[in-house]
Symmetry: C2
Subunit: 225 residues, 2 copies
DNA sequence: CTGCAAAGAGGCGGC
DNA sequence: GCCGCCTTTTTGCAG
């Protein structure tokens, strides 16, 4: 009797190598010792001995061809190509994984927005939710609402500590689009940013363009409800 | 006689583990087999057997403490913490790298912009360069120029294949700021986007706000000059 | 597939 | 340090 276990393997090579990438840009990684990770879905990573980011990589779905001293990786659909010239292989081993548990995240912006949708009073009194990820011509509004007068109120939610100026213009862009929609029958639209904090230039931009701001963090919202 | 070689090492563990991250969010990576990479600068990566991105990570500069069956990684400055519970270690080895060559990239936006700065004629005739990364109140303009009439012309350069609507508003934001600067003595400012391609909504937005567009890619610019 | 925005984004350059 | 923005961003989601 056999028991079939869904097994996934990855190959890990530590080698002195030269790597060339061509596709979205052209890049050459000069001779050095690197960790090369080849995953079973075609993803490839080239890591140096320091630094968080990989020096080179190829996406999942890549095709891999091996010749002596050379690993070719291709992603034809985007015309990307990676060549790993192996000068000296220090180690080369396969690792078989039989178990792959999920990654569970708590506290993302989506959650913040979900929670805020049922506590609109924390933003302003007498707001009614019209839609989440409400679609406009120029992108989705986090929380589309109307106030007691039936005027549209666009709410943009950010979870990041420091929010930059570009957000004021993101909000203005949505307001511009919402202002052109017929369903509001010409009533003026307002915009409100909800975030834990602002950059100084953003503070100025919000004032200049008469955009609202409510200081609120995910932590504050969860602990107070 | 001793020869001192600057050596950099990284540790590579393949293990069945549970990982908990707390800091910017809270996350739990459930029991599974993962590749754990610990670099000599404190960077830590947790990779599953598939997928390009690490499931968890910690930045370079992190502090690492090891106990039996547990690796604690901390980044106190940002109050981030990672705990790796090692249930079963399949392999654990150190890799010493003696050589670390540079990564040389060709074709980034900076280069595109540099090249365009000396070939302004490809954008429009009779433009004069005023500055690169020209600072305004709301962010840096890629190429600040003036036309033959002394009117300011803001040029935004994008290298990506498909550019989204938000770029039209980035340009409008710069135009708004430039329009308030005294040095132009009230002359009207124009904006031009240079990119290889546009999304359909962006095409509409550029027309609606009377922004210019020049279709040009890094490849085209290099081959034609 | 297109289009847009979030990400524990990371990393760079300027001030 | 703050601030804005580019990235071979990657990833996810909706129409």
């Amino acid at each position: 009797m056999f028991v079939l276990i869904y097994v996934r393997a990855m190959r890990v090579i530590f080698a002195r190598c030269i790597v060339r990438y061509t596709g979205r840009i052209d890049a050459e990684l000069e001779l050095g010792d690197r960790l090369i990770v080849v995953k079973d879905d075609g993803a490839v990573l080239i890591h140096a001995t320091s630094g968080l980011q990989p020096k080179n990589w190829m996406p999942a779905g890549s095709d891999l061809v091996e010749e002596p001293g050379l690993i070719r990786v291709e992603f034809p659909r985007r015309d990307e190509r990676l060549e790993i010239y192996l000068i000296q292989v220090h180690s080369d081993s396969d690792h078989v994984g039989e178990l792959s548990g999920r990654l569970v995240k708590l506290g993302s912006e989506r959650e913040f927005s979900d929670l805020l949708a049922v506590h609109l009073g924390r933003v302003e009194e007498n707001l009614t939710l019209v839609g989440r990820e409400y679609r406009t011509r120029v992108g989705p509004v986090d929380l589309m609402t109307v106030d007691a007068d039936g005027c549209p109120v666009v709410i943009e939610v950010k979870r990041a500590r420091a929010v930059g100026v570009e957000v004021a213009y993101q909000l203005l862009r949505y307001l511009h689009a919402v202002g052109q929609e017929e369903r509001w029958e010409g009533r003026p639209a307002r915009g409100i940013l909800v975030a834990p904090g602002l950059s100084r230039p953003l503070t100025a931009a919000l004032a200049e363009h008469q955009l609202g701001f409510v200081r609120l963090s995910f932590e504050k919202l969860t602990e107070a409800t």
